[in-house]
């Protein structure tokens, strides 16, 4: 299993799935997508099980794999991949998220289903490649490749203002990644100046960067950080997020919130922290402050929002603020806690958006001011939603609890003030999530609800199965948080 073939395998299987999706008949696309992504999830878990389930980080290290393929050595282009304690979990997450997204029924299986399924698998490929990349240019290309399916998602199956959402998404993301690209070029030219060779391989660059004065690393570091701050996003770079999340079709929202935002997290762990330790150290206070402000500000925005999807979108920003707080605490425990919380956020936000889609299908809209009292009509659905809400507010025993707790613990060592601020976010989180649940589920059935709401069926068995799977992961992880922390 520790041979490099497992890496190529994890990358080629999603690509193969893209190809196969073009020959599957339209009517069978959903079945194919679900079984295909479930199979990929199983294979991913199998291939990475040595890392996932080993008891200690030391034991897991035996299964870490490095692979490097030369491409255009003249220009320093190679494809470098590394499977380790961080990337293994994100590979599993991207497969799981893809399964959840494919599982949802909706317009995407009626309008151009082939495009939807092939784009979904292509997204999985691009994500895996980005999570594994240890080569600057490989990472950049995968990072950009992720946009292609997302632009299709919003552009083809999106809601009302999809054109403007696509445009804003495109513009914001590219503005960031261009700066990252130029930062990569700067690092590569430092390598070229020192050795006379072009290389974009991270270990090569690391050797050279160690001897470069901090001042000349400031701009490259800023380029990387800005790209990831937009991707995650951190306040004040969150301007694009609401419009894109709200106008994307629900599977697109699930992918974006559960896994695309983690590209920024992995980028910081894999590239920013090792490449620019001195720069980060110098600006640690500011970075922690930005993260803490993200937590609070996004939570306040969530409290103010009156639409289900918008509220969850802001809650995503708030949770990712915690993750970044963990990473910028600059301790390996903090990073590990960030990974743990990322996993927790990915699973819970996947579950929340999944169930939100079920609510939307039944009530027709997600307006928190008019719809209410739906829990009476749909007890099973709302039980699931309640568990998801509790997981999201980090109830002890769920996946998020360990993550948030450890993040705050480690961040406190770095900055007490920021940690206290961020901890307020936990309370605010409870406020908006419970308000969200109360508005949608509790109370008497409102007159504003359409008449046919009450005649629709409760959660189907198939949907229940998915909810049970996700709840299982949340609780299993809540009890065993240690398995996620092998960075």
């Amino acid at each position: 299993m520790e041979t490099s073939s497992s890496l190529s395998f994890l990358l080629t299987i999603p690509l193969l799935a893209v190809v196969i999706s073009w020959v599957i008949p339209k009517a069978l696309q959903r079945i194919y997508a679900i079984f295909g992504s479930a199979l990929i999830l199983a294979l991913t878990v199998y291939e990475t099980s040595g890392i996932l389930f080993s008891s200690t980080t030391e034991a897991a290290k035996a299964y870490f794999v490095d692979q490097r393929l030369e491409w255009v050595s003249e220009l320093g282009l190679s494809a470098g991949f590394r499977l380790d304690g961080v990337s293994a979990w994100f590979l599993v997450l991207s497969a799981l998220t893809t399964l959840v997204a494919f599982y949802l029924r909706g317009i995407w299986y009626r309008k151009q289903p082939r495009l939807f399924v092939s784009m979904g698998f292509f997204l999985l490929f691009a994500l895996n490649s980005a999570f594994l990349a240890t080569d600057l240019i490989t990472f950049y290309l995968s990072y950009e490749a992720v946009f292609i399916p997302m632009i299709f998602m919003v552009g083809v199956w999106g809601e009302n203002q999809k054109a403007s959402a696509v445009f804003r998404f495109f513009l914001m993301s590219f503005a960031g990644s261009i700066l990252m690209l130029v930062a990569m070029f700067q690092l590569m030219s430092m390598h070229h100046a020192a050795t006379g060779q072009w290389s974009s391989h991270l270990p090569d660059i690391l050797k050279v960067v160690a001897n470069v004065p901090v001042e000349s690393l400031l701009w490259p570091g800023a380029g990387f950080l800005l790209a990831f701050a937009i991707k995650v996003p951190l306040v004040p770079f969150h301007g694009w997020l609401k419009e894109v999340y709200v106008n994307a079709p629900m599977p697109g929202t699930i992918w974006m919130s559960a896994i695309l935002s983690k590209l920024g997290v992995v980028g910081v762990i894999r590239f920013v922290l090792p490449l620019f330790p001195a720069v980060i150290k110098e600006y640690q206070g500011a970075l922690l402050a930005v993260s803490a402000v993200s937590v609070i500000y996004a939570a306040l925005l969530a409290i103010r929002s009156n639409e289900g999807k918008t509220l969850l979108a802001y809650s995503s920003i708030s949770h990712l603020g915690f993750v970044m707080l963990g990473l910028f605490s600059l301790s390996s425990e903090g990073s590990n806690a960030g990974v743990l919380l990322s996993v927790g956020h990915a699973v819970t936000s996947g579950m929340l958006f999944y169930l939100l889609h079920q609510v939307e299908e039944r009530s027709g809209n997600l307006d928190l001011t008019t719809s209410k009292g739906l829990a009476t009509a749909y007890p099973v659905l709302f039980s699931g939603l309640f568990i998801a809400v509790l997981a999201s507010v980090s109830l002890p025993g769920t996946l998020n609890f360990g993550g948030e707790f450890l993040v705050l613990l480690n961040a406190y060592r770095a900055s007490a003030l920021c940690t206290i601020l961020a901890a307020l976010g936990v309370i605010l989180g409870a406020v908006y999530m419970l308000r969200f649940f109360q508005r949608l589920g509790l109370g008497k059935t409102g007159t504003a609800n359409p008449v046919d709401v009450l005649v629709k069926k409760d959660l189907s068995l198939a949907d229940l199965l998915m909810v049970v799977l996700l709840v299982g992961i949340v609780i299993y992880g809540g009890i065993n948080p240690g398995i996620f922390m092998k960075g």
Binding site: V72, L75, G76, V156, F185, Q186, H192, W198
Partner: protein, 488 residues
């Protein structure tokens, strides 16, 4: 040098020159059929290309008392020009018949253009360079007006001619100044003059150098010297536009680079002058990038779109020129960029010529709507070539931009690279939008029919294969072109 050796060295050029005469004769003898002229042109180009490639690794030689230098660079460029010629002879066949302008003149005019371009890149004397420039340009004016009954084509020819005349005049004036300042019209003499003149540039030299550069800035349409280009591109017959965009552009740009390197900019006393040259190129790069990339997204006519595209290409190339001014950097990024651009552009212009005529409006974006359902293969070909223009990975367009960018960062032009990369993103929108229209939209009722015929489709396929092959395995090309020195 012995006459035999001169003939040996000049062989590819001589074959081309002889081929022009044969083609001309053949077209006069058999007026009713175009095939003999076509065949003779093809044969000439193939022989020229092969003989240029055969001798490509031979050392450079200056002949005719140093006014022409035949080197690896000029041989490989002549081979490239011959390839462009072959592709536009084969690819234009059906277009010319369709537009009822299938005259034998197309073939020998095209050959003369190639000869002019081939001499221009080899010239080491301002006078020879001027003659070559005119040999290349005069047939181009004629070809631009080849659709004689179309007022737009006539407009294009007149505009191109007036511009070309101005370029020639400016160039001659500049040459005269350079002669006055340095006492010679030969490149090596001017170069060694600049090495000896410790006081740095004088005003006469600066004015002359400035003028010859400006002449070629017009020719390559770097902003702000670009305004003629969209009209000429739109009006000229599509294969001729393709020739301007590939053959003329490459020859002119290589010449421009050599003219910029005319004085020894790194010798003592020239620091101020070198700095001002660099500033000028930076300004040109910014202007071309911004104008090209911003205006391109508003274009609805595809030929105008590619005109603005080539303006922005001049901007990227200027970055390569800046890098080449840095000691230790060659012109490899520029050459590779030009090669990559040519391989995609040939296919794109032949594809453009495949639309059925609809009056004289040319191909609009709307004509591409729903193409995937009408013609899936053509959609795939379009997409690959447009991807290459946008610099997507796994096409040659990716490496060419990438190489320009890393060498510019390496030579300290990071802010410019930030701007160029942003422009690349903005113009990517313009290149990807046609693909969106082809794939995601239903056919517009007014959309043109498409039909190319076997031969023109073959040319596009060749271009796509080159773009993809070099996109996957560019090692050999990069290694080879890196080894080619700039001639002085």
């Amino acid at each position: 040098m012995h006459m035999n050796e001169i003939i040996q060295t000049l062989m590819p050029w001589l074959i081309l020159a002889a081929g022009i005469l044969v083609t001309l004769l053949v077209s006069v003898i058999r007026v009713e059929s175009k095939r003999p002229a076509q065949f003779s042109a093809l044969l000439t180009l193939v022989l020229t290309g092969v003989s240029a490639l055969q001798t490509v690794s031979l050392p450079g030689e200056a002949i005719f008392s140093g006014s022409i230098e035949i080197s690896s660079l000029t041989r490989i460029l002549l081979a490239l020009f011959s390839l462009i010629g072959v592709l536009f002879v084969v690819g234009a066949d059906r277009y010319l018949s369709k537009e009822k302008i299938h005259l034998s003149d197309y073939y020998h005019l095209l050959l003369i253009m190639i000869l002019g371009a081939g001499i221009m890149v080899a010239a080491k004397d301002l006078v020879v360079l001027f003659i070559a420039l005119e040999v290349m340009s005069l047939p181009a004016y004629t070809l631009a007006g080849f659709r004689r009954n179309d007022s737009r084509s006539n407009e294009a020819a007149i505009k191109y001619f007036v511009l070309g005349g101005a370029v020639g005049a400016v160039f001659l004036l500049g040459s005269a100044f350079l002669f006055g300042a340095t006492g010679s019209t030969q490149f090596p003499a001017i170069y060694s003059w600049s090495r000896q003149s410790v006081t740095g540039s004088n005003l006469l030299f600066a004015a002359g150098h400035f003028l010859v550069i400006v002449a070629f800035l017009f020719k390559v349409a770097a902003a702000p010297f670009h305004f003629w280009k969209p009209d000429v591109y739109e009006g000229a017959p599509t294969p001729v536009t393709g020739l301007m965009s590939t053959l003329v552009a490459v020859a002119s740009f290589v010449t421009l680079v050599r003219l910029i390197h005319l004085p020894a900019l790194d010798s003592t006393g020239w620091e101020v002058y070198a700095a001002s040259i660099k500033t000028t190129i930076r300004v040109l790069a910014v202007a071309s990038l911004v104008v090209g990339s911003l205006v391109i997204i508003t274009q609805k006519n595809l030929k105008r779109l590619f005109a603005y595209s080539s303006i922005s290409q001049s901007g990227y190339l200027m970055l390569g020129v800046l890098a080449s001014l840095q000691p230790g950097h060659g012109i490899a990024p520029v050459l590779i960029y030009l090669f990559g651009y040519v391989f995609a552009a040939v296919g794109l212009f032949v594809l453009l010529s495949q639309s059925e005529p609809r009056g004289d409006t040319g191909v609009e974006l709307v004509d591409l709507t729903g193409l995937v359902r009408r013609s899936p293969l053509r959609t795939a070909l379009w997409s690959v070539l447009l991807f290459s223009m946008a610099g997507m990975p796994f096409t040659v367009g990716f490496f060419t931009k990438y190489f320009i960018f890393i060498s510019s960062v390496g030579s300290g032009e990071t802010p410019l690279v930030v701007l160029a990369a942003m422009c690349a993103v903005v113009s990517a929108y313009a290149y990807l939008r046609p693909i969106g229209l082809m794939v995601m939209r239903d056919a517009d009722p007014g959309a043109a029919q498409w039909g190319g015929g076997f031969w023109s489709q073959l040319v596009v396929v060749v271009s796509v294969i080159l773009v993809v092959f070099l996109g996957l395995m560019p090692n050999a090309m990069i290694q080879y072109l890196k080894g080619i020195p700039l001639i002085h």
